[in-house]
């Protein structure tokens, strides 16, 4: 065996540095420390998905695949959705934090100045995938450019117990609020009330109260941004809800967050609830655990419907999930590359299919996916985003002032105050209109 001396070792190690052409010999020869390429890491902050399998896809499928395809090391961090604004605020103010932050609803308008323009991806994805839904475009476009990229939409439908509704004479889901009230009254009398949160929470409360308001003809502002909430239409909707609450609802809903209705439904305490499909998905995944009183898997007794219509039509509000590439990011280029890669049909599909319809794509092409043929119960979610014609701050724009009203839960609190029985509907409407007025008249 040849003796390895210092000269031979240096020569060998130099030869071994194929490609880089930079062995120890090279380092020594250059009299300089080696320069390594900065790790191409992308840190993404998202919510703890109500479908945990989807987070698993990000960590166990996306991360290794994007590493292989683009050399990007994906660092997925998930937190409670209600805590994301706090993280976003501290990151933006300190100029340090995740490269991509998932933002709900119209938060992109709030943080627009901290965003990297992602118009190129949005245009590309929209063109290739049948167009981004109008509502999602409005939520993510500020000043003519895309400040965040729509990732998904969680449609809100009413999940209900088919057999219980049939027992009180409702063969199909009620078409109007009035019919829903009548059915709900019978259900509550049978100790199977409707469950609905009117709490200070981001999802199920406003996605119920805003469409209710609109379906009675009420609206926050007019097209010029003048507050018009204090109207006979709004009052009519609040009066209706107050009686509906008393007659048909589980009154504990005033203190519910976005998860209480899931638990109450799965335990058989409520008969219906406005929700994403997470109740059904949980019942499906836990078929052995969640049963009807007759012992059948609970998911076989669940159906979905869009929210009922009011005197002025039928409306919906679906929660939007968007990704913002942060301006302070030291790897904005990598973050954009990752988003481009993630939105490619073959990649996005892996995340989309495990959602089973709880979250749908931001573009129309996903309405035609084969997954929808597998489970007819999920059918109402397929095209649900098309039903969303209005956003917070209607009939004006879903901009910063609308976000402030939304984040103060003004519309939800208006209904909650009246339903609590402590405030008259007239006073609740006047209060909400007054508070909204202060927001819209502020400079």
């Amino acid at each position: 065996m040849a003796r390895i001396n210092r000269r031979r070792f240096l020569k060998a190690s130099g030869a071994a540095a194929v490609g880089a052409k930079m062995g120890i010999a090279g380092i020594l020869a250059s009299h300089q420390a080696p320069v390594f390429a900065q790790a191409n890491t992308v840190h993404i902050l998202r919510w703890n998905d109500f479908v945990p399998a989807a987070d698993k896809v990000l960590r166990e499928v996306f991360a290794p695949e994007v590493q292989k395809a683009l050399g990007i090391k994906l660092n997925v961090e998930t937190v409670n959705a209600n805590d994301i604004p706090a993280r976003a605020t501290s990151s933006i103010q300190s100029g340090n934090g995740p490269d991509i932050i998932m933002l709900l609803n119209n938060y992109p308008h709030l943080y627009a100045s901290a965003a990297v323009d992602v118009s190129a991806i949005a245009d590309e994805v929209s063109k290739a995938q049948g167009g981004i839904y109008d509502a999602n475009a409005q939520l993510n476009r500020v000043g003519g450019k895309w400040v965040a990229m729509p990732w998904s939409v969680v449609p809100v439908c009413i999940a209900y117990r088919k057999s219980w509704f049939e027992e009180v004479g409702a063969k199909t889901f009620p078409k109007t609020w009035k019919e829903y009230h009548d059915v709900g009254k019978k259900l509550k009398a049978a100790k199977r009330p409707i469950g609905q949160t009117l709490g200070n929470t981001f999802g199920d409360a406003p996605t119920f109260t805003y469409p209710l308001l609109w379906s009675y003809g009420g609206q926050e502002v007019d097209a010029k941004g003048k507050v018009v909430l204090d109207s006979k239409e709004t009052l009519e909707s609040v009066r209706f809800m107050t009686q509906f609450w008393k007659d048909a609802h589980d009154e504990g809903g005033l203190a519910w967050d976005d998860s209480n209705n899931n638990r109450a439904f799965l335990s058989g305490d409520i008969s219906a609830s406005a929700n994403g499909a997470s109740i059904y998905v949980a019942a499906l995944n836990g078929a052995d655990k969640f049963k009807t009183e007759k012992g059948a898997p609970l998911h076989t007794d669940i159906a979905h419907s869009l929210l009922p219509a009011g005197p002025k039509g039928q409306h919906a509000y679906h929660t939007a999930f968007n990704h913002m590439v942060m301006k302070y990011s030291k790897n904005a280029k990598g973050a954009i590359e990752f988003l481009k890669w993630a939105h490619k049909k073959e990649n996005y599909e892996k995340w989309f299919t495990v959602q089973k319809g709880f979250a749908v794509g931001p573009t129309k092409v996903w309405e035609d996916h084969a997954m929808w043929k597998q489970d007819p119960v999920m059918a109402p979610f397929r095209t649900a985003p098309q039903a969303q014609k209005r956003l917070m701050g209607y009939a004006s724009q879903p901009e910063k002032k609308a976000a402030e009203g939304w984040n103060k839960f003004l519309v939800t609190v208006m209904y909650a105050q009246a339903c609590s029985g402590k405030v008259k509907p007239e006073e609740a409407v006047k209060w909400a209109a007054g508070e909204l007025g202060k927001i819209y008249t502020a400079t």
């Binding site: 209600n82 604004p85 706090a86 976003a88 605020t89 933006i92 103010q93 709030l110 943080y111 627009a112 100045s113 901290a114 009117l198 709490g199 200070n200 929470t201 589980d250 009154e251 504990g252 809903g253 005033l254 203190a255 519910w256 967050d257 209480n260 638990r263 109450a264 335990s267 305490d269 910063k400 976000a403 402030e404 984040n407 103060k408 839960f409 609190v413 909650a416 105050q417 609590s420 402590k422 405030v423 209060w431 007054g434 508070e435 202060k438 502020a442």
Partner: protein
């Protein structure tokens, strides 16, 4: 530059640093410097920044401009803030009263000799040791509108026929928050007051007993006056902590139902962080300052008077 010094007939070189440290003023300044630096960085700087923010229209990611007292005026006219302010005063007042009364009672009990005294004293601190977020979550489950274990127990014991609206009624929710705060803060009162009780000489109680004073008189005329300075300090600490409470309400009720349990801190967070209006959020939270300043001022004055008496 070094100088020479003659010690025991030997000439020694004395460094400038040694000379500096021999100066009492310089040494005091050196020893105080780390503490002052910490105070400046972690207390003075954030406070000054909050003050500046409150006078500007700063939003997340936007520097804003000077707006004078506009944020304060907006807050005063904001009915949710008015409610949050009233709630904060109510919450602080009742929680402090209960913590003081129950803490005192517990301290008097623990001051006695009984078996397993040390274990009981240590375990009593548990509510104080457990992170507030965790204990608030546990209480939230116990008060859950659908699955409350207390409703379940009361229902099965035949005490109630319908669920009690622990968190779904505004008044109930506020009293529940007061109860949880009392549960959490009472051990702090009890342990501190217990420490105070143990400094009171038993001779005083014996002398009073010999003079015919009953238990109440002994407490009122011997224990209470001697415990007053400690009590004042504990009450002030508690008022400061309770008035600026955030975690408990954030987890337990989120300020609901219908804003009926919002405190200044939770509402300031909702505006400053939730809506990105940092200037307005800072102004809202600064409303706590004059109240807490007044409380501390009264306490310091009272303590000074007691010292002089």
């Amino acid at each position: 530059m070094n100088e020479t010094l003659v010690v025991n007939g030997r000439r020694q070189r004395v460094s400038r640093l040694t000379r500096l440290l021999e100066s009492e003023k310089a040494l005091a300044a050196a020893l105080l410097a780390p503490g002052v630096a910490i105070l400046v960085i972690f207390i003075a700087y954030p406070f000054v920044m909050a003050l500046w923010y409150s006078l500007t229209s700063i939003r997340v990611g936007e520097p804003g401009e000077f707006v004078g007292l506009a944020n304060f005026t907006k807050a005063i006219n904001d009915t949710i803030f008015q409610q949050a302010f009233k709630n904060t005063v109510f919450y602080t007042f009742w929680a402090t009263i209960f913590k003081l009364a129950l803490g005192m009672w517990l301290a008097l009990l623990l001051n006695r000799h009984f078996r397993f005294k040390r274990i009981v004293r240590a375990s009593m601190l548990l509510p104080f040791i457990i992170p507030t977020v965790l204990s608030a979550f546990a209480w939230r489950w116990m008060f859950d509108p659908t699955f409350s274990v207390m409703n379940w127990a009361l229902y099965h014991a035949g005490v109630i026929t319908d669920r009690l609206p622990f968190l779904s009624d505004g008044d109930w929710a506020m009293w529940c928050a007061v109860a949880v705060n009392t549960w959490r803060g009472m051990p702090f009162f009890a342990i501190t007051l217990l420490a105070g009780l143990q400094t009171i000489s038993p001779d005083l109680h014996e002398a009073a007993a010999l003079d015919g004073a009953n238990a109440w008189y002994r407490f009122w005329h011997v224990t209470w006056p001697l415990l007053l300075p400690v009590t004042l300090v504990v009450v002030v600490f508690s008022v400061i902590q309770t008035f600026s409470d955030f975690q408990l309400i954030y987890v337990l009720t989120g300020g609901g139902p219908a804003n009926s349990t919002h405190l200044i801190a939770t509402y300031a967070y909702q505006i400053g962080v939730g809506s990105g209006l940092l200037g307005e959020g800072a102004a809202l939270s600064l409303f706590m300052f004059p109240v807490l300043f007044a409380v501390v001022w009264v306490q310091l004055r009272t303590l000074k008077r007691m010292d002089n008496a």
